[in-house]
Symmetry: C2
Subunit: 403 residues, 2 copies
């Protein structure tokens, strides 16, 4: 960091914390419950640089296909997000719906006073896969939301609330570099990888001056270290999208290193908020693999453990069943020697050189935060995957989602 | 099949159904509950050909390391199996325990009247990973069990009961070729792959005349089609072992095709029994992928769907949430075109060309058997993975296994 003051992280603020952004969320009637379901983030400029990362799922929702195309320009003037429906597996008609939504928002923004083309509008959707969106409600909502959007902190908070699905709380955060420039963000979601949960959406804004290439580098670096390493249930969504928009309104051009660090800090905090509110979570679990031959090996090994249903159910039961960690890591396609593996639960050695340590069955895992450290001892690379336990509430929540 | 009569499958019989085998199970005190925990299968000959397949986990239990070595001779005179402890992750001491167990059984069999070397004794263990076995009890049990073993059907049933861990019922089956030759088998386990569950053990016997190479071919063919395609929770055990022993006592030498078919039929039936008694099962689910580019692609795609926690919880809830099947298969590293995928639940189309079909949300999944068919439409290969739902009972059973 080359900044003169220490950045300040504030969770009460989100995408409208940086200068040059307006946002809001409204209830457009997409959700049967009448809860807020349509959000808008608008970049007033003067700059409109943007970058994005998307789900790696081969089955991609219509808004992902659309936004992947428009973001190639390196520009975005607005992001429209809806909850209440993923618009995934909806065929050509679903894609037309997304396109029509972008066109409608562009027209509404133009009428409102900012000449906008559909190609400047990113679209994100989240909710049940497989149903068409109620386009009459979406289009009426688009018309209305442009008149509701506001600067200040309220707009960002409203947007964060309108993208929630199974989330219990909205997630937003802002990182202020005193008197200088700011990065803000909001996210929703409950399980993910790559960045690809079920379903994860995230919009990050900054008033820094940064071109699309700089934004792209900062975003890929940050998501690789954060959202890519949060794995709630191993399932990968059709809709995951993380967008980064820069207004340049601060007139400050941070170094790439400072921009990278700021975007990473915001993603990291949003990631922790997603983990803490994951479906059915009773334990926040960090699985760290050290001594791997490569960082990729460390990520793969940690992810294999973090996804193992037997490990996750044991942690739900506060059961220090370390043998399941060995059994899980033994299936990871990485270099390892079973006779050199050490395992620590909450810092206490439970397995040394592949064999149980004295007192291993007595380690206390009753708290809500659990660390699992696996030392492979074959190299010097390490990585951490954040996950949760597999609980009754997870099963309950996911056993009747569409019905 | 070149046999003259149709083989007859009988579930009340197991490893002692073929001529030339004795077996039994006793309570040796390894389990604190006092339940049966030590089983012996003894091949009286005249032949002693044998073959085996093992877990692919890099972390292998001591008895797996032992049996992998002794089976290289292509011969086995006896199999000793214990429940109540996996003897995995127990270091060099654990391996010495397995070796001492084989030595003790060889000595006891020699004293009993059959000259036996330790190298002719296969050893299998199942239970909690990480604890040493109570060797005083194991060795006393070995001494006793030799005197208890019996021919007839009772011995096989006792052996099948003594290898149970979380199993609710023993699993055994015999396939009789009338007046000719017989294949029998027993198994225990609750989740698996490759063959590798948590924990799966299986012993198959036959009185056919067959050398080790023929047995190895029959066993690999059969397990590749059955145990390798049963996937309860994606977790792979440190102890999985499937053994095939031939006594030659029938003096019938079936063709390789007949032997393959018979071993396949026995493995297939045991597989169905394992699925039906899997931990927490409320639904038996068959996931079939058709139209894949290769059979490997079909297996990988079906396995990816079968392991997906969101698919499995939806099926637990009888929720026809087909979008989750699309999201899961979209992550499989196989050739596919999202716009050509069809999905059928219990035979009813729920997704056609990647888009929801009319009535998809109304398909009845309330029964205990569910079929999921995914047509990729890119080739002509297919495969089926058997799995179960992810239920409250699964979470409950696995949240306090070691404590």
């Amino acid at each position: 960091m080359t900044s003169t003051s220490t950045p300040r992280l504030v969770r009460e603020q989100g995408v409208t914390a940086p200068e040059g952004f307006r946002a809001t969320g409204i209830a457009a009637g997409i959700k049967a419950s009448g809860a807020p379901d349509l959000a808008l983030v608008f970049n007033e400029g003067p700059d409109h640089g943007a970058a994005a990362v998307f789900t790696r799922n081969k089955v991609k929702a219509a808004p992902v296909l659309w936004t992947q195309q428009m973001i190639k320009t390196g520009r975005a003037r607005a992001v429209l997000l809806n909850s209440g429906g993923a618009n995934a597996c909806t065929g050509p008609g679903g894609f037309q719906d997304t396109h029509a939504t972008a066109e409608a928002l562009a027209a509404a923004l133009s009428q409102w006073g900012t000449e906008t083309g559909a190609i400047e509008v990113a679209v994100c959707s989240t909710g049940l896969i497989g149903d068409r969106l109620p386009m009459d409600k979406v289009l009426a909502g688009v018309e209305a939301i442009v008149h509701e959007m506001a600067g200040g902190l309220t707009g960002g908070a409203e947007a964060a609330a309108a993208i929630m699905t199974t989330d219990n709380v909205p997630k937003q955060v802002a990182l202020h570099h005193e008197g200088n420039w700011t990065v803000g963000g909001m996210a929703k979601g409950a399980g993910m990888l790559a960045p690809s949960l079920a379903t994860m959406l995230c919009v990050i804004t900054t008033d820094a001056v940064a071109n699309a290439a700089a934004l792209d580098q900062a975003l890929r670096h940050a998501t690789g270290q954060t959202f890519d390493r949060l794995d709630i249930d191993g399932s990968c969504s059709t809709n995951d999208t993380v967008l980064l928009l820069a207004s340049g309104a601060s007139e400050i051009a941070p170094s790439q290193a400072d921009l990278d660090a700021a975007v990473l800090a915001v993603c990291n905090d949003l990631c922790a908020q997603l983990q803490a509110d994951a479906e059915g979570v009773t334990k926040r679990v960090a699985v760290t693999v050290t001594g791997a031959a490569t960082e990729d090996d460390a990520v793969v090994a940690a992810r294999t453990i973090a996804r193992d249903s037997l490990v996750k159910t044991a942690l739900f039961g506060s059961d220090p069943n370390w043998g399941r960690v060995l059994a899980a890591v033994g299936m990871a396609p990485v270099d390892l020697d079973p006779d050199r593996i050490n395992v620590l639960f909450n810092g206490s050695p439970v397995c040394v050189n592949g064999t149980g340590a004295p007192g291993a069955r007595d380690v206390d895992l009753s708290g809500s935060d659990i660390t699992v450290v696996v030392e492979l001892g074959v190299g010097s690379a390490d990585a951490t995957i954040r996950t949760t336990d597999l609980s009754h509430a997870y099963v309950e929540e996911n056993s009747a989602y569409s019905s």
